[in-house]
Amino acid sequence: MDIQDKVAKSKYSKILQTLESENLSVTFDDALDNEMILNMGPQHPATHGVLRLLVSLDGETVLNCVPELGYLHRGYEKLAEACTYHEFIPHTDRLDYLSPMANNVGYALAVEKLIHLEIPERGKYIRVIIAELARIQSHLLAIGALVMDIGAVTPFLWAIREREKILDIYDIICGARFTNTYTRIGGVAQDLTDEAINGIRKFIDEFIANLDDMRKLVERNKIFIIRCEGIGYLSKEKCIELGLTGPLIRACGIERDLRKAEPYLVYDKLDFDIPVYTDSDCLARYYVRIDELVESVKIIRQCLDKIPAGPYNALETKKVLPKKDRIYTKMEELIHDFMLINFGVNPPVGESYSAIEASKGELGFYIISDGSGYPFRLKIRSPSFCNLQALAPMMKNCMISDTVVIIGSVDPVMGEADK
């Protein structure tokens, strides 16, 4: 008998025919033989944003994984071409929204390199302090979220509590907690007040003790160690081949940190170490982040001791925005402000690349200028985007439950990866 006749005569002919017409091909020979495609995200709490993973599974083992990006693509590189250099600063907050201060610093440095502007010592120290606070802020969330994905909620709350204190300090520094927009081309928006300095000092004095409390909860926990040790391993060669930066490359035994390799601001005058681990698994990445927190505190303490008095903005009236009170009272400043806001800083024709060591890795801005007040092309080298490429090789042959740990250890921020 023909198969179509069989279907027609069957009790379920209607269902079978619909299935046939919709062309849904399913094999049911042996359920255990079939590979399963699991769609993880974009709305999944463990993907830290809108990362979508297509995971092919054999039972519980991941055979392959394809990350899909673009769910938070806002076209910042296109927008930048329609903004003056000053106007783009608030947009950098929205790149890596877990450490907006570091993005502000990175962008301001890139533009200053393009227009050959040197900022005063005090401005440099202020920038180092806020960039390191941003690193603490970002790593706390990375660690907290990693541990929470494994199942421990308390350390996450403790990490968030510390993070909250940093946000309060930001509130004092610049008036905003989350999207700061604190740096300006040629300096920062306003001086670091004594209140802010005292706040930072109080925070770093208490922070190490609070961090140790959190570490006691996590690091001797058997579940945490078993879930992290040996998971997400990537060989040293592969790490280099994939162009990884930040904690990921320092967890595989390569001592590369732009703060030492290509010193910017005043990092060459400060004494700090680069934590390096060789295991290249999720546990090593956790420890790199923890050690970087301690180093950041060290850096901030030195900066607070060394920070000189004096101007915090460069005295280049044609490039740097003047103070508001002077704009309202002085003619000269009003003209400069008008020119800067409407026509921009007009850098010379040329190209420039400047990168900083942000919390996730090398955050670079490649700016091409055609001499006008708008960037001709602004390329953002976002560390999360480049680090996410390591996700597929890390996940090969791991268990489905390990995927969340691996994503947590890579610590992607989709605002930055999708630009």
Binding site: L69, H73, K78, E241, E351, Y366, R381, C386
Partner: protein, 160 residues
């Protein structure tokens, strides 16, 4: 980069007809697209260069009549702590070049991004799909002739 190191680099690339410029302190080198793979292998594998890590790539639409498009690869030598920018001029009508995925694995996503945003075609790329935009999108948003506000109806809205 120090003077002697730069001379060394120039001698290694002498056979490739390379054109040297500079991007704030780091050398930038224009290489012809027909011999790009060979040149990149030299940059990566030569014992005195070792540009083992490709950290970024920039795709540019220069909006000129001739050689409108350009790819800029940002290479880092971890051992010598040096940076070099490899630039490749691409044709205005048909921007295409050999993919560098065979030399550096990380080129994969960078080139997908360049394909998506500027529309450069990479030959022998293992997985040339769009990085951010949906696959059915017809335009390349970072081209200079693409309007900032977008093109109406280029992205269909979901039905009710």
């Amino acid at each position: 980069m120090k003077e002697d190191r730069l001379l060394n680099l120039k001698s290694k690339l002498s056979t490739f007809d390379a054109e040297f410029t500079e991007v704030n302190g780091s050398p930038a080198v224009y290489i012809d697209k027909s011999r790009i793979i060979e040149a990149c292998r030299v940059l990566k594998e030569d014992e005195s260069l070792k540009f083992v890590s490709l950290v970024d790539s920039v795709s540019v639409d220069r909006f000129t009549k001739k050689d409108r498009y350009e790819m800029i690869y940002n290479l880092v030598s971890i051992e010598f702590n040096e940076r070099i920018f490899v630039k490749i001029r691409l044709d205005s009508q048909k921007p295409e070049m050999e993919s560098l995925c065979s030399v550096w694995e990380s080129a994969n996503w960078y080139e997908r991004e360049a394909y998506d945003m500027i529309g450069i075609n990479f030959i022998n790329h293992p997985d040339l799909r769009r990085m951010y935009m949906p696959e059915y999108f017809e335009y390349h948003p970072l081209r200079k002739d693409f309007p900032l506000m977008g093109i109406p109806d280029s992205l269909p809205l979901p039905n009710k």
